[in-house]
Symmetry: C2
Subunit: 278 residues, 2 copies
């Protein structure tokens, strides 16, 4: 089984004999270099015999050394992006390095967020949106932009969406909402006061709630979609957070659109409108 060589080596490291461990450690330490070595060269580097290298390869499930190198090459390539995720950016990083790290951090936010939300929950969320009469989208701070983005997208599809304005106005709007409407609240931490007040109010009045982000308070919204963001590239710049939030709202939107009928028609209508204005 070679679904993941690196992981499995790490796991088996304990039960290995001295030579085997020497080999495994070199592979784990410098997979990229090992890929370029011959079995003899690797043997020298590990201070073991060439035949030990071959035996090692076979023991971990490969027919031979070249096969292991190929798998190793594939794995290092796959994890290239993921490697620098937890690195953070240093003041002496080159421009290219910074770009790569940012890129990696965004991809991590995307993939983790995608993973964090089971299909069933997404399905429920889309159901809420489709069923809703009117939708109030609430997000403060950085989340306000995400809220606006989602609202403009849904509006294109004829949904009655309210977003923007300050929290007082929003609460006033919410007061008229009922069981056939929907509150979408967006807050990464789930601790934003305004959002909590709105969610509690909605739940108390039988308004369905879809929350995007963490939410620890009781009572809990019917549906909660999680955003995963490891904010360590530029501390607290909330780049990863925004990326994760947009991933979720875009996904929601795409799923919603897919559920509707004649997608292309409506959107190009809206484009035609914009063009006319010019």
């Amino acid at each position: 089984m070679s679904t993941n060589l690196i992981t499995s080596l790490n796991a088996r490291l304990e039960g290995m004999s001295a030579s085997e461990r020497a080999i495994a450690e070199v592979i784990l330490d410098a997979p990229a270099e090992v890929v370029a070595l011959s079995s003899q060269a690797l043997a020298k580097r590990c201070n073991v015999s060439q035949s030990s290298i071959i035996k090692f390869c076979q023991k971990v499930g490969f027919p031979g050394f070249p096969a292991l190198k190929i798998e190793l090459s594939a794995e290092t390539a796959r994890s290239e992006n993921a490697q620098q995720i937890h690195a953070g950016i240093f003041s002496d990083d080159s421009l290219g390095a910074v770009a790569k790290k940012l890129f990696a951090s965004k991809i991590a936010a995307l993939s983790e967020t995608m993973k964090a939300n089971p299909n069933a929950v997404l399905d429920a969320a889309v159901g809420q949106i489709s069923a809703a009469n009117r939708i109030l989208i609430l997000g403060v701070g950085g989340s306000a932009l995400v809220a606006q983005d989602l609202s403009s997208k849904l509006a294109k599809f004829g949904k009655a969406v309210i977003a923007g304005g300050d929290s007082h106005i929003q609460l006033a709007n919410l007061a008229s909402f009922g069981a056939g409407d929907l509150l979408i609240s967006i807050s990464y931490s789930g601790t934003t006061r305004e959002v909590q007040v709105a969610v509690e109010f909605a739940l108390a009045h039988g308004v369905p709630v879809l929350h995007i982000g963490a939410y620890h308070q009781a009572p809990a919204p019917e549906v909660v979609l999680h955003c995963v963001a490891d904010e360590n590239i530029v501390r607290s710049s909330s780049i990863a957070t925004r990326t994760a939030q947009m991933a979720i709202t875009d996904l929601l939107f795409v799923l919603f659109v897919q559920g509707q009928g004649d997608v292309a028609a409506r959107i190009s209508d809206s484009h035609a409108l914009v063009r006319q204005i010019r």
Copy 2:
């Protein structure tokens, strides 16, 4: 140079001789299988001699066949994610399939956009921002959100940023700008009337301009950063566009921050402030 074997093979396919092409085509068709073959086996499959395989490898820049296999393995691993990019979403796609396609499309927008902007241009853009006294960020339609996002980020770092408001207000603001200031204009297509007017005005009055998106008009802004977005997942939903724009603005921001001194201090200050308000 083997930065991208597959791409370079595709590009060179035209100028190849019959045997070479046969080899290249098998590699392009089934890279995953080629990785498992010996040079002899591949030769048989291509109906060429074994030596031709070796010569081919050397011609495309590798020391030999094993090296090519290793690179091929890495590349197929890397592109595993990117495969479904051009698929589009169909109404009978499962929820998981939709998520994957969206994910792939976002990654494509990110990576293409990162690739599209040479370091030198990014460097110039960061220089403009650092040097600017006041900054006006202009974006209309969907780009308005991106403009706001960038403006709030830069504001955290003490930059005097103006964003938001309608185009009349913005033009009025721009009137007071001079050579020490900066206009950042954001428009995916570069054809937005308001943006063009502002850019022309700025250039005419000696105000430096940084444009994010395409720009075909003359006179051209000093610095143009490109956003690459293949909008074929949900047609015209501008999800990829937004993703690309945010990638660029985030990158700009991170690079700018890196250039400044005590990063963490300032941002946590701003966080502390927000916490106090609650």
